[in-house]
């Protein structure tokens, strides 16, 4: 199991992560300016910039700097922020925790709901519940998340003042302080991510409903509830898992826009600030976390698909 299934994927996973850091590092080199010019501002003398560069180690060749960073990163040392001079770990960790919490709520509530909605749409194919759900899903896929977020703010914090429009608790807020302002960002994320899951689940349910085994089970005279839960759902969920995994990875790594709109102190906001200040160690750590999440989610989805599919769990010839 391990050598056949996990090992080759693990190899690809490591390659993916390293490659993503190389890409991000190169992209940062291509941007004009660096941390020294950003910190000192426009009126700095060339001598001052050069001195700060030497202090920050930015005067060395890019390849040498990347290799040094990679060597340290492998030992768990991701360096210090070029802006604050503090180790990047705790700061990114706090942001990761906040984002994970936001993502967790979205996944638990939103994705479960999406699976159920997809199931309902598939079961009521081409009738009004399907038309309604599919239309909403299509809107979710086509409208960018910043518009969804803006509309939600308009509806639920301005027209009907239920939730705060932005997070005012600041960068070092605890989860408890963040909780009241959670609903709107979570809803925006759910709306966009759920759309893909609904579409996939719907297609998958329709396929399974037309299969021979569902026809046979129906002719056994079992109730529709039993038919759906025992015969349809287990097979229909399998192809949806990969879409769910992609969305989880996207949530962790790429909630940049939604976090910015709501001023939510997560990884997305931190990344934008770090790019503005050219704070390379912070950006690289966020990149690594994003890539690891992406790879891990896909690996987990594959493992879950294997676990849920008896054809993979019990090969044909195992007696």
């Amino acid at each position: 199991m391990f050598t056949r299934f996990v090992a080759p994927r693990l190899g690809w996973a490591i390659a993916t992560i390293v490659l993503s850091t190389v890409l991000v590092f190169s992209a940062m080199q291509a941007l004009p300016g660096d941390a020294a010019t950003q910190i000192l501002g426009q009126n700095a003398t060339p001598e001052a910039v050069a001195t700060l560069r030497r202090q920050l180690g930015l005067d060395q060749a890019p390849v040498a700097r990347f290799v040094t960073w990679l060597g340290h990163a492998l030992t768990g040392n991701f360096g210090t922020s070029l802006v604050s001079g503090q180790a990047v770990g705790p700061e990114v960790g706090r942001a990761l925790l906040n984002t994970s919490f936001l993502a967790g709520v979205t996944i638990l509530v939103g994705f479960s709901l999406a699976m159920v909605l997809g199931l309902v749409a598939g079961l009521f194919r081409d009738r009004w519940p399907d038309a309604l759900i599919s239309t909403v899903a299509l809107v979710g896929m086509s409208v960018p998340e910043f518009i969804v977020a803006t509309l939600l703010v308009l509806a639920f914090s301005i027209t009907i003042p239920l939730f705060p429009a932005v997070v005012v608790a600041g960068q070092n807020a605890t989860i408890g302080q963040l909780l009241p302002s959670m609903p709107l960002p979570a809803l925006s994320l759910m709306f966009v991510a759920a759309a893909y899951i609904i579409r996939m689940m719907r297609t998958s349910v329709i396929d399974v409903m037309e299969s021979d085994f569902v026809h046979t089970a129906r002719l056994k005279g079992i109730t529709t509830g039993r038919l759906v839960i025992r015969h349809v759902v287990p097979s229909a969920v399998l192809p949806t898992l990969n879409v769910v995994a992609m969305n989880i990875a996207w949530l962790i790594g790429g909630v940049v826009v939604v976090e910015s709109i709501f001023n939510y102190p997560g990884m997305g906001s931190l990344m934008i600030r770090s790019v503005q200040s050219r704070d390379l160690p912070t950006i690289l750590l966020i990149t690594v976390i994003g890539a690891v999440t992406f790879v891990a989610c896909n690996l987990l989805a594959d493992l879950a698909a294997t676990f849920l599919n008896p054809r993979l769990r019990y090969p044909r010839n195992s007696k």
Binding site: D212, T216, K220, G221, I222, R230
Partner: protein, 631 residues
């Protein structure tokens, strides 16, 4: 069953029309169907694809395709007006009165549920059996024993994919019997199974019918199966019952030209030659009250070419799928010759390696050992990319399913023109290639979806032949076709072999078709040749025990002697043994030496050889019975 119920008919269908709407026009799928079946009788529904026989079977379970509807008439099954049933009444009817054995149990069993759960669902309405887990399990075991599934207790906790096709079908039957139905509907229950497995399943069904006495409805395209199983038969054509009555009467004295044509078009293992194909024009004329003479009515006997040069020579071919170093190879030491103008049949059940060998010849599969020679001079490289263009041109394939091997978005012209362009063939055209397969040139504009099954297969043949090959690999090219179309494709194959000196390697599991078309036959079992000879020798009086098993298992019209192998012996094992004779585990004549030593090639004549340790005398048909008795 109570006395009053038993006076009822099991099935009573009157003036039934089933239709769907095409725009505003009503299209009848079934028209004016009247059928009655008493309890305990077995009704066969026979007809070709599109005849409405599966729709009729579905109606007995109150099941219609969503777009179809009952336009007229009534359907009573076990006393219930089935299309008046709704909700719980319908579920109870399906759970207790009537059950379906589906066509392909592999797809009809839910892949994510254990066998025990699926069976328990089917006898859920029976309180005594569902009281406790132990009661459920013992009832499930009882059912699996009834259908003679080997090791029923262990089967309960397995999933469907862990069984072979024949075993899945047995489980499907057990599931249908679970509710003790008054009527069992079987939709092509053995189509797609190997001939030996089919014989065993049908034997089990006969025993079950004798024991349980339910009425059965058997849908089949196979007249031999209908003849063996059914007391009554209804022949369907284009949604109408053209003829019905007691099976023996209808088959012995058919009154409708369609029934007569259908009966005449079936190839037989005990009579050589290609039967005449069914002529739709004659039947349509009869329906209008006119008479037309049939275009062909005689059996055509092909003659094998003599002294032609070889187009393909295979020596010592060994293919190994195993990754383990000590496993027995999938295909071992196969020698094969195909001469110009010759049709060589490669025969065997699933797992016999016949498709593997075809893939090797086509260059789609690597080998472990062996030499392949084309036209007596060119040694074939192992895989397609390493073969010269001329070599690729010389070997062409015709696929089993013309529906899926033709691109549905490309016209016939695109498909047939491809080899002409690829190999830069001058002096030929798409129209000429279509004429070769008796299709009009105007068909070039059509898409595959606008053609019938037989016409699509002709396009597949035209595509292969247009390249100007010397060898054609024909992989089960008639097994997906209706029997009436089969003959015309076989005749086409014969003509192309003669006129273009094509060598055909014809891969099939259908022995009757082999008898009709082949010049020479190679019988494969688990990737090893067990017997080879001319077609008359293979179907003659001396045979390898495996060939004998295959021949005995074929269910022929008017032949009640098809013998069913013992349970457990009815299916091909998963792989060949590491030593000895591959057939030793199932052979009635097995001796100690068979399990350790590879059998020698025993020549029977210059062209006929058998690989067996048993003395040739024991392999004679007249003596084989008594020899079996002694072991």
């Amino acid at each position: 069953m109570t006395a009053t119920q038993s006076e009822h008919l099991a099935i009573d269908i009157q003036n039934l029309d089933v239709a769907y709407m095409a725009g505003t026009r009503q299209v009848n799928v079934l028209q004016g169907v009247n059928l009655a079946l008493r309890p305990g009788e077995v009704l066969g529904l026979v007809g070709e694809s599109g005849s409405g026989k599966s729709t009729l079977a579905g109606i007995l379970l109150a099941s219609l395709r969503t777009s179809s509807f009952i336009a007229r008439g009534t359907v009573h099954v076990a006393g219930a007006d089935v299309f008046k049933l709704k909700g719980k009444g319908l579920r109870d009817f399906r759970a207790s009165q009537v059950a379906l054995v589906p066509q392909n149990a592999g797809a009809a069993l839910t892949p994510t549920m254990r066998i025990a759960d699926q069976l328990a669902e089917a006898f859920r309405s029976d309180d005594a059996s569902t009281a406790t887990r132990a009661a459920r399990r013992s009832r499930a075991i009882e059912l699996l024993r009834l259908v003679r599934l080997p090791n029923p207790a262990a089967a309960l906790d397995k999933y469907p994919h862990q069984f072979s096709g024949g075993q899945q079908q047995r489980i499907g039957i057990a599931m249908a019997l679970a509710a003790r139905p008054a009527i069992l509907v079987l939709d092509e229950p053995t189509t797609g199974l190997d001939v030996v497995t089919q014989a065993a399943i049908l034997d089990t069904l006969s025993r079950l019918h004798a024991e349980l006495g339910m009425a059965m409805v058997l849908v089949s395209h196979d007249l031999g199966v209908i003849d063996k199983m059914c007391t009554h038969v209804a022949v369907l054509r284009q949604g109408k019952v053209v003829e019905s009555g007691p099976t023996k009467d209808v088959l012995a004295h058919p009154s409708h030209p369609y029934t007569r044509g259908l009966l005449a078009s079936v190839p037989r293992i005990n009579a050589p030659g290609i039967p005449p194909s069914l002529d739709d024009a004659v039947i349509d004329a009869y329906e209008r009250g006119e008479t037309l003479p049939a275009a062909e009515s005689a059996v055509y006997e092909r003659t094998a070419p003599v002294g032609t040069p070889p187009v393909l020579t295979v020596r010592g071919l060994t293919v190994d799928y195993n990754r383990k170093p000590h496993g027995a190879p999938t295909v071992l030491d196969v020698d094969l010759d195909v001469h110009a103008g010759e049709i060589v049949a490669l025969v065997g059940e699933s797992g016999s390696g016949k498709s593997t060998i075809a893939n090797v010849i086509a260059g789609l599969q690597g080998t472990k050992a062996g030499v392949l020679t084309l036209d007596g001079e060119t040694e074939l490289a192992a895989t397609v990319p390493r073969r010269a263009k001329a070599v690729r041109r010389a070997i062409q394939i015709i696929f089993q399913n013309a529906d899926t091997s033709l691109n549905p978005r490309q016209t016939v012209r695109d498909a047939v023109n491809r080899p002409l362009r690829l190999f830069g063939i001058r002096g030929s055209s798409v129209e000429a290639a279509l004429a070769d397969v008796d299709l009009p040139g105007s068909f070039a504009q059509r898409l595959p979806g606008q053609l019938s099954g037989g016409q699509r297969q002709r396009v597949g043949i035209a595509r292969a032949v247009a390249a100007g090959p010397s060898l054609v690999l024909a992989d089960e090219i008639v097994s997906a076709l209706d029997v009436s179309v089969q003959s015309s494709i076989l005749r086409l194959m014969d003509r192309l072999a003669r006129e273009k000196d094509l060598g055909f390697l014809f891969i099939t599991h259908d022995l009757a078709v082999v008898r009709a078309i082949a010049d020479r036959v190679v019988v494969l079992y688990l990737g090893r040749i067990v017997e080879e000879g001319t077609v008359d020798e293979i179907f003659g009086s001396i045979s390898h025990p495996y060939t004998r098993l295959l021949l005995d298992a074929v269910i022929e019209l008017g032949d009640d002697h098809a013998s069913a192998p013992a349970p457990g012996q009815d299916e091909v094992p998963d792989g060949p043994p590491e030593q000895g004779c591959p057939f030793a585990s199932r052979c009635p004549l097995v001796m100690d030496v068979c399990r350790t030593v590879r059998p020698p090639v025993v020549p029977v004549s210059a062209t006929h050889s058998i690989r067996c340790h048993a003395p040739l005398n024991n392999l004679r048909l007249d003596l084989a019975e008594s020899a079996t008795g002694l072991v």
